[in-house]
Assembly symmetry: C3
Homo-oligomer: 310 residues x 3
């Protein structure tokens, strides 16, 4: 795949080789991401960060990625101070950014927004989350975390836990993991399990897949525990929420039966899903995972806007 | 006129030669604005963007202009997160920016704010819109658009349509066009026509000027159609608004009788004034016009803060 | 004291020699702060500005300091558009910034927030105000102002006026002045006088200290008049507020009996504490004081992140 000037709308546009190429590039970006080495491969380039809903982590890691490569950033952190408030369409806002920047990062509450933006922009558009849709650089950083922390993606037992029905992150990740032959176990209350279409896709490509309601029973076999937030609003009955909240909370007691090599991931922000006592233990990788967002975004930006050098 | 360190408060401070000098400089800025050539003529310079009300297009085009010339930007995008919320006067906020930056761009809801800011600041102040007052860089980019797209400003038949009473943009543009000997036709409902003082100024300087209520009748002779937004809030009777909204909506049917060389402009954001079908037709120049904001602002910034090199 | 990579949480962590070292460094930063000389000692470094409550002056002066030293800035200007709104803890937000930046500036409404942030971050944290707690760079710029404008800090008669009970600024300043042997006079209504623990600390270190309710009587002997805002909300009875507001308002009549060499300072923003007529008189230094925030923050940033060069 030629990355030069291409849009990054969905992880489904990436084949296995494409993903490996990005992860490889992210590996090369590591010393620059840590600030140990300087790079100016994007000097003179401007990135427009259009965040129609707030996402501090995603926004700031794109900014750091761009700055550490010598580029600069314009944009907005939420829609309140924009012409959208005056009734402007997304297409017109995107055309504006197209005039002022060399690439566009878009975060938008509406599914399909990134595809629409890519259609209206002559510059590359990177989807940084469009509602229930896609967030491909999150998936790439999740894969990069597994690769860096476990050595390989293939053959790991990966447990996804939490809200698997509405959680955009886990849908994309499931798709990508299926390319690499990981074993996936989905743990969720019945009302929040992985949507049937994703399950059947996974089985269709020969993915090894299980479902469970019990987190405790799958912990001993897990290599990667990927935790997501369960939102109270999803439950009509608050009592139901409280049960689930408790059952899927990760703490040291739960992890007592885990393999020594287990890693715990979370796309963050977290609220109560992971007890703070886990932070300083041997399993926590969620803060490192957040850091890996920088080299992944440097990889994407350098491949799209630069000559692939780092 | 010596541009070095001067304020840009009103287009009325510019004579015809001054405007031509800015447009000429903007022409030289074009390759830098498009990102084809790098410039560092403002390296080390800091611009303070003080936006007391949101204006995404103006703010971001000033940022891109500054960044593409090697400078950098500080500031705020709306007044909510500023010391104004704690009761600070505009004069004190401006003095702060004066301490921290090499030039100030001010957007403020109050007419006369830019003049006041210029009085209190030792650094150059650029008015980016002060209520019903002035927005000189908008006027300059409008003129630059006409020059670039039509070759000359003089002798064009320029039709202004929409809210000509409250529309700040068209008042300043009318003044500037009169310097260049363009023919101006104002199309608006009677309650939103061009204010008498502007009309009499125009006639006083020998301007060729007409008024009309019918957009259809003036389209065939138009070289430039400059559309502005009509705000619903201006009409006591919603029924009246609906009539006007429909009568002054630009679509392909209306443009069927236009010259092949007509260009359609709009300061943006638009809401419903121009049908999306016009965007992909031969007449639309409003997105290009938004882009021309970058070279114009580069021209202004380089003349004020730099040595006029590009 | 070795400043390299250290946190700046409280002025109480600074001894007299440390403070003098920072002021000396700020002196060297002056031509760079004024934009007369360029520096790139922090090129490639990224500062995260985490402002959980707005503070335009502090935020923008840190940005200018970083930019004028060749560095760059990421962050947010208020908490509304951050993951805090989604329930994230301060510790997690700080860990994020730790991943993306080389140093963190934190402004937070909660006392103790900066200490907590420093505990959770591997990168240096600079406290830019934490509720009723500390704001050490404000104290340093206050001291720098006195040194630059009066030559020495020692032996000056320094009158602090306004809300001395809740005013964070004056508590830290009092501590620091006591290191330098200044004479301190506190003028406030009885309900807003300096807290007893600060008074007893001051006396314990041999500080020369007085209290008064009458501003008029202490003006003739004053070398420095440090004014702070009295907030209406502090008074249960609005009538009480009105009396105080009037008694402690600085105007030309009050200053008629002042020494020719008196300087008037204020941390800003001001509301009505100082009449605008004072601005253009010989005593006003509060705008210059705001400017001195730039060289002081350049000094701190270059000592912490750089090699102390300027």
């Amino acid at each position: 795949m030629d990355f030069s000037n291409r849009d990054v709308v969905s992880i489904r546009d990436f084949g296995k080789e494409d993903i490996l190429h990005v992860l490889d590039q992210a590996g090369k970006a590591m010393p620059v991401a840590r600030g140990e080495r300087r790079s100016d491969v994007l000097e003179g380039k401007i990135l427009a960060n259009l965040f129609f809903e707030p996402s501090t982590r995603t926004r700031l890691s794109f900014e750091t990625a761009m700055l550490r490569l010598g580029g600069s950033v314009i944009g907005f952190a939420d829609a309140s101070g924009t012409s959208v408030a005056k009734g402007e369409t997304l297409a017109d806002t995107v055309r504006m950014a197209d005039s002022y920047a060399d690439a566009i990062v878009l975060r938008h509450p509406m599914e399909g927004a990134a595809k629409l933006a890519a259609d209206f922009s002559s510059k590359p558009v990177i989807n940084a989350g469009d509602g229930a849709g896609q967030h491909p650089t999150q998936t790439l950083l999740d894969l990069f975390t597994i690769k860096m922390e476990k050595g390989e993606i293939a053959d790991n037992n990966i447990v996804l836990v939490g809200d698997l029905k509405y959680g955009r992150t886990v849908h994309s990740l499931t798709y990508a993991l299926s390319l690499f032959g990981a074993n996936i176990t989905c743990v969720a209350p019945p009302t929040l399990q992985m949507p049937p279409e994703i399950v059947s896709h996974l089985k269709g490509v020969g993915g090894r897949f299980n479902q469970s309601e019990s987190l405790e029973s799958v912990i001993p076999g897990a290599d990667v525990l990927y935790v997501t937030r369960i939102q109270k609003e999803r439950f009509p009955d608050p009592e139901e929420y409280r049960k689930v909240e408790h059952a899927y909370r990760i703490d040291n007691a739960l992890l007592a039966n885990a393999k020594r090599s287990l890693i715990v991931m979370h796309p963050l922000p977290r609220v109560n899903e992971i007890a703070p006592e886990v932070d300083s233990g041997p399993y926590a990788r969620y803060f490192k995972q957040a850091f890996y967002g920088v080299p992944i975004r440097m990889a994407i930006l350098s491949l799209i806007l630069g000559k692939g050098e780092m």
